[in-house]
């Protein structure tokens, strides 16, 4: 279902709840991927692992109990005032 709001206001937090941002006026035709690319640096999340490799980060929409795909449109996947939680796939340990 396409959201009739031309723009949405959203919230996003990191997985530990220690970072939070407000997103104001997000256009409905923005993709989740574009949203994430703007969000990650603003949440000061590292984009690469200790070896310089890109770190995958998933956007979790708890309201629907699922992760969003980068290609989804904000206007189709989200409602006004929805909250996204960013889940990094990240490695710990001795690592070599």
């Amino acid at each position: 279902m396409i959201n009739l709001h031309p723009v949405l206001n959203l919230f996003a937090t990191d997985v530990s709840g220690q970072r939070r941002v407000n997103l104001r006026g997000v256009r409905s035709d923005t993709t989740v991927g574009e949203l994430m690319d703007e969000l990650l640096p603003r949440l000061n999340l590292q984009r690469t692992d200790a070896n310089g490799q890109p770190m995958p980060v998933a956007a979790r929409l708890d309201r629907e109990g699922r992760h969003l795909h980068r290609s989804e449109l904000v206007g189709e996947a989200l409602r006004d005032k929805d909250e996204l939680v960013l889940h990094p796939q990240i490695m710990a340990g001795r690592g070599r």
Binding site: V7, F11, T13, D14, V15, S16, G17, Q18, R19, R20, V21, N22, L23, R24, G25, V26, R27, T30, E34, L35, E38, L39, R42, L43, N44, L45, Q46, D49, A50, M55, A58, R60, H67, V85, H87, P88, Q89, I90, M91, A92, G93, R94, G95, R96
Partner: protein, 362 residues
């Protein structure tokens, strides 16, 4: 917003003082900012989203411009309160290690050769570029910090200190049961790493002007990808961990994380017993990967990381956390312990490993 009117570089030198090169820094000021915010909260100040941070180089009689001994962070809060903290140049030690790797790649430095580095700063004449994407506005909102008002002295009276403590560190209280669970998980995982999320509460004692951390439980990480030398927390791990906290309905928050190092399996069995006793991989340590994990998931300065290592002699625990924007081993208090817990640890053990362990059996 964090602002600096200076550009910072690392300058590399041989031990004899010959210049090897310079590395322009793109500093990650976040740990410094978090350290300032923690200092403010320990003073009972309210930190919200409307603060500003300024960074400037610190010079001294011994270290004249453009060289600097470190940098000074100033946090300006609404209402006029300010918090100031000095950070040493070792804040950039990870960047220094990465820069030395580039020097090795370019042939200016040999593998294993010693080098020195120092911090230099220059006035920045280029105005900062403000990025806009034109599609929406992003406002950083200070995440609420849920703090309980309790008396620190009550906690200290029923806990045993262990590990290397500094008087300037905020106290951390961990139940003996959490250490026992960490040990059980590590032993059960055998030759694979395992981990979990530490949950609990932040406490404030306004009379003592102190903030401290109480760990209430360890939520074992499920849906991980575990191997001998690494442990990956997947998006399913985080979903499961957050659900576990919600189901407990105790208002707990993520205060840190735990993982194990199967140290006795890191070393080759062919290693002589005397050498295994002194092997740095047999001690608790915090690797580059662990530092990246902590920086990414637990940036708040009150966040902690518990490492449990399986050694030939048994299990060891060590706690790590932020201090001056850099991760160090730190002390903690065990609630419900019968006797002190022995801890010993290091950061980045590979450099202590003067010569490699044999990789083949004789």
């Amino acid at each position: 917003m964090t602002r600096s009117a200076h550009r910072f570089h690392l300058e590399f030198l041989t031990p004899q003082g010959q210049t090897l090169g310079q590395l322009p820094l793109t500093p990650d000021w976040e740990p410094a900012l978090e350290s300032l915010k923690l200092a403010a909260r320990r003073r009972g100040l309210v930190v919200n989203g409307h603060h500003a941070t300024e960074i400037e180089p610190v010079h001294s009689e011994q270290v004249a411009a453009p060289l600097c001994a470190g940098f000074r962070g100033t946090l300006r809060l609404p209402g006029g309160a300010t918090v100031v903290e000095d950070f040493t140049f070792t804040y950039f030690r990870r960047e220094a290690r990465a820069g030395s790797g580039e020097l090795v790649s370019s042939g200016k430095l040999k593998e294993g050769e010693q080098y020195l580095y120092r911090l230099v700063a220059f006035a920045d004449t280029v105005p900062a570029v403000v990025r806009t994407n034109g599609r929406f506005a992003v406002e950083v909102d200070e995440a609420p910090v849920d703090v309980r008002e309790t008396r620190l002295s009550d906690w200290l009276a029923r806990a045993l200190p262990c590990g290397p403590a500094l008087a300037t560190d905020f106290p951390v209280f961990i139940p003996q049961s959490v250490l026992a669970e960490s040990a059980t998980l590590a032993e059960a995982a055998g030759a694979k790493e395992t981990g979990g999320v530490l949950i609990g509460h932040l406490h404030q004692d306004h009379a003592a002007r102190e903030l401290f951390v109480e760990v209430t439980a360890l939520v074992p990480a499920r849906h991980t990808e575990a191997e001998l030398t690494k442990l990956t927390f997947t998006d399913a791990t985080w979903t499961d961990s957050r659900n576990a906290v919600a189901l407990r309905r105790a208002g707990e928050q993520f205060v840190g994380w735990q993982h194990s190092h199967p140290g006795k399996f890191f070393c080759n069995p062919a290693c002589p017993p005397e050498r295994r006793k002194t092997c740095p991989l047999m001690r608790d340590f915090f690797s580059d990967e662990d530092v990246t994990f902590h920086r990414t998931v637990f940036p708040r300065a009150s966040s902690i990381a518990l490492v449990t290592t399986i050694t030939d002699e048994g299990l060891q625990h060590a706690l790590f956390g932020w201090r001056g924007g850099v991760i160090h081993q730190r002390g903690f208090h065990v609630v419900g312990a019968q006797q002190p817990v022995a801890v010993e640890a290091t950061i980045n053990p590979e450099k202590d490993h003067a010569s490699p362990c044999p990789t083949k059996s004789p």
